[in-house]
């Protein structure tokens, strides 16, 4: 039996950092989100999981306001932003950081310029203050002295870390990771996982939302798991609750079995 969305959150009374209410989104003839509802609690590492094409990345793009729902409501830190003007979204985005799958670094800039980019846009710092801030962010992600490095010269793991430094540059209260370990070897995946945990420990009050297919990472790191299926929130719960869950869909997803209600992936 799946855990209904929100059931294990009913005891909390804090304002959710992200709240989706019956969000629907269609692209052409394809309905991706079909009444998605969930709440993400502050200070937690929340994992959004599900099969490919279930709308996980679409969900994260709705959280940062790059996509807007056709129907439904989105609240960020208690503020309804669904039909809010772009200025409200820009204000909300300053409290968010997003780490893209491959870092999405600006390859025309150096590593330092990439990290400094959001700071230059929103804060008035002297060149010395800016340089110190950039250096401390690069220190935080384990890349001291990389400020002048060129983006094309970085390894994929380094790119992710620079992306993380840039995502953290405006001291966000919500950090989003879009499939951070996809396509990574086990060592880099482990490194990224440890970075997620480290950031959570180092930055008080930080809420993290991770989209991932890596079930081992999910079960190891998550405070709460959100399972997306057929455009809806199928189940939510802690890793322990998920492991104990007997629902065949969840069990098939966790075990990665080819036999079960989810069917086989299309080659």
């Amino acid at each position: 039996m799946a855990i209904p969305p929100g059931q294990s959150q009913s005891k909390t009374h804090t304002i959710p950092v992200v709240c989706f209410k019956n969000v629907r989104k269609t692209f052409g003839n394809q309905q991706v989100l079909r009444g998605l509802s969930f709440e993400l609690q502050p200070g937690e590492i929340s994992f959004i999981i599900g099969r490919s094409g279930e709308g996980k990345s679409v969900t994260i793009k709705h959280i940062i306001g790059v996509l807007h729902p056709d129907v439904g409501e989105i609240f960020i830190n208690g503020e309804l932003l669904t039909r809010a003007p772009e200025t409200s979204w820009i204000r909300a985005r300053k409290n968010m950081g997003l780490l893209f799958q491959d870092g999405a670094l600006f390859d025309s800039m150096t590593v330092g310029e990439n990290v400094a980019f959001p700071i230059r846009e929103f804060e008035q710092l002297t060149p010395k203050e800016l340089s110190l801030r950039v250096e401390s962010l690069l220190d935080l992600v384990g890349l001291p002295g990389y400020g002048l490095a060129r983006v094309p010269d970085l390894s994929i793991g380094e790119r992710k870390r620079v992306g993380l430094a840039r995502a953290l540059s405006l001291n966000p209260s919500l950090l989003l990771y879009d499939e951070p370990t996809t396509g990574m070897d086990p060592l880099i995946s482990e490194l990224i996982d440890s970075l997620i945990l480290e950031m959570q420990k180092k930055i008080p009050g930080l809420s993290s939302v991770v989209i991932s297919h890596d079930i081992q990472s999910v079960l190891r790191l998550a405070d709460r798991i959100f399972f997306l299926h057929e455009g809806k929130m199928y189940a939510t719960g802690t890793p322990t609750e998920f492991r104990a869950n007997t629902d065949p869909i969840i069990q098939q997803f966790i075990t990665g079995s080819l036999k079960g209600p989810l069917g086989q992936p299309i080659a």
Binding site: V66, W89, R93, Q101, A104, L105, F117, P118
Partner: protein
């Protein structure tokens, strides 16, 4: 038979629908462009960087092509006018053609091929690599950061490049007149002053201004809506160049029509 007709109609419908959607997207981009043009932050540094890219870096190719365009025009016109013993008018005729049509249109082509293609490719690459999404996620409008400086720089640089094209084109024509047709300098200048008016130059500059806006907005639009990896970048760049060149020619006709009536 009926099926073929229906299929054809369906294809036509799809094509029209695609064009209407494209036009709608382009209009929205233009609206956002004007919105960010008059709002902070004004990115002066980025605009100057684009002045350098669109203007300074196009200078060598404009210089070379204008000299040869003027020379070849002088050659052809001089030969024809020579039949009527009117070689002295070759500078005036070339000047008129350059000022009204050739300088702005040729500059439009050159800047499209050099800067417009680069703009489309750069923005398209940023789109397919999620760099534009990253910018938006950081609360920075890609239109404000990338498109506004490029459009302002192209629009303002095109009249300048066109003026340089006109001047050097006349130099090319003068050299041909002097060397091949033995045209007297005073006659060349006098005829030029007689036939080419300040209003002709103004009309040409107006065209160049419009072409600068057109080529940069089309290039940025194509790049902005690119999809599908390296292939998408290539397609966006090709489409940007083709659409810009065609639009410049079509708009040139209508501006000429208005200018003639005005």
């Amino acid at each position: 038979m009926m099926e073929v007709a229906l299929s054809g109609l369906e294809s036509l419908g799809g094509l029209v629908r695609g064009q209407i959607i494209g036009l709608g997207r382009f209009t929205l981009l233009i609206r956002e462009l004007f919105f960010w043009m008059v709002r902070r932050p004004f990115r002066i540094q980025l605009i100057f960087k684009q002045f350098e890219f669109v203007g300074n870096k196009s200078l060598s190719i404009v210089t070379l092509s204008s000299l040869f365009t003027g020379a070849v025009l002088g050659l052809q016109i001089g030969k024809i006018f020579g039949i009527f013993k009117a070689e002295g008018l070759m500078g005036a005729a070339t000047g008129k053609a350059l000022a009204l049509e050739l300088a702005p249109v040729m500059c439009g082509f050159i800047v499209t091929g050099r800067a417009g293609a680069a703009m489309a490719a750069e923005i398209a690459t940023m789109r397919v690599n999620e760099q534009l999404d990253a910018m938006e996620a950081m609360g920075v409008s890609p239109v404000s950061y990338l498109i506004v400086p490029r459009v302002i720089a192209s629009t303002l640089m095109m009249p300048l490049l066109s003026a340089i094209f006109l001047s050097l084109g006349l130099v090319g024509c003068y050299i041909i007149g002097l060397v091949m047709f033995r045209v007297d300098t005073s006659v060349f200048v006098a005829q030029l002053q007689w036939l080419v008016w300040v209003s002709d130059i103004q009309k040409g500059m107006t065209k160049a201004l419009v072409f600068g806006f057109i080529l940069s907005t089309i290039a940025c639009y194509k790049g902005f809506h690119a999809r599908g990896g390296a292939k998408g970048v290539g397609e966006a760049t090709t489409q940007a160049v083709v659409a810009s060149l065609l639009t410049i020619l079509i708009v040139d006709f209508f501006i000429s029509l208005v200018q003639m009536k005005g």
